[in-house]
């Protein structure tokens, strides 16, 4: 039966089904979370306190910070593709790093050797953004289908497990020293 044909009456629906089980009432305890708890902003631009800008700049310079902002792709790769995935990385990671758009840097793809994998999968691909414009550049670079960069990113993502319910999680991160909650 199509959804639109199902009556919005419990009794009518029960009559259609033709059998009755036991009535049950369950409590729903909603857990509301917002994924946006920090203002996304360039930590080295106008509006950010000078001390925070300095801390971020120094952190990047001394490599205690990876970059001004990070993009993390978390995903799984089906078991039968893992060997080909590793081969692809061996052959293409260097080019991927070289071909990044301005203010974008490829920071590697990692496999989770230990930790919880149920929700976010076994692999992480990390992108560094030197400034906020890198986010637009990365989007534009991936969308430019004629570019070698877009082809490589597409091939990389082609290994992702795209089955329904497969673990997948993407995040944009900023240095905590410059993260203001709202």
């Amino acid at each position: 039966m199509k959804d639109e044909e199902k009556p919005a009456s419990g009794l009518e629906r029960l009559r259609q089904r033709g059998r009755a089980g036991a009535p049950e009432v369950d409590s729903i305890d909603p857990e509301v979370r917002s994924g946006v708890t920090f203002m996304l902003r360039d930590p080295r631009r106008r509006g950010v306190p000078a001390a925070e800008q300095e801390a971020v700049g120094e952190g990047i310079e001394k490599k205690t910070l990876i970059d001004a902002m990070l993009i993390e792709w978390s995903y799984d790769v089906p078991y039968d593709k893992t060997k080909a995935f590793r081969r692809w990385l061996l052959d293409n990671e260097r080019d991927l790093a070289k071909l990044c758009p301005p203010h974008v840097s490829y920071r590697g793809t990692y496999a989770v050797a230990s930790g919880s994998l149920v929700q976010v999968g076994r692999y992480r691909t990390i992108w560094g953004l030197a400034e906020l414009s890198g986010l637009s550049n990365l989007s534009a670079g991936v969308a430019d289908e004629k570019s070698a960069f877009a082809r490589l990113v597409s091939e990389l993502n082609g290994f992702r497990d795209r089955e329904r319910g497969a673990p997948e999680f993407d995040a944009i991160m900023i240095p905590a020293v410059s993260a203001h909650r709202f």
Binding site: L11, L14, A20, P23
Partner: protein, 103 residues
């Protein structure tokens, strides 16, 4: 018997279920199809004797005991969750509730 004051229902026919928001104390509840149908059938504020009769017939066909005590037991989960108030007429199991009101 009637629905509790301020009770709001959101049918989910695609899932054979109904969401209920209870105001006092605030709670969100999920009713399965049987509980949802019972809720509709016992609401005295709705003039729906046919619904009550249909429900009872269906329950009887499903092999349920329709004695007053058994019906009270069926309604217990709804009452325990504060979805309904009042008593279910004990005569409903054996005769048409509309006829009872006429008498």
């Amino acid at each position: 018997m009637r629905l509790s004051e301020g009770l709001r229902l959101r049918p989910l026919p695609e899932l054979d279920a109904c969401l209920a928001y209870r105001r006092e104390p605030p709670a969100l509840l999920r009713l399965n199809l049987e509980a949802w149908a019972l809720l509709e059938a016992v609401d005295e504020t709705v003039e729906a004797p046919d619904q009550q009769r249909d429900l009872l017939a269906l329950l009887a066909e499903s092999g349920w005991d329709l004695s007053p005590d058994a019906l009270s037991a069926l309604l217990a989960p709804l009452a325990a969750r504060g979805l309904v108030t009042g008593a279910w007429p004990p005569h409903a199991a054996t005769s048409h509730p509309h006829d009872q009101r006429k008498g």
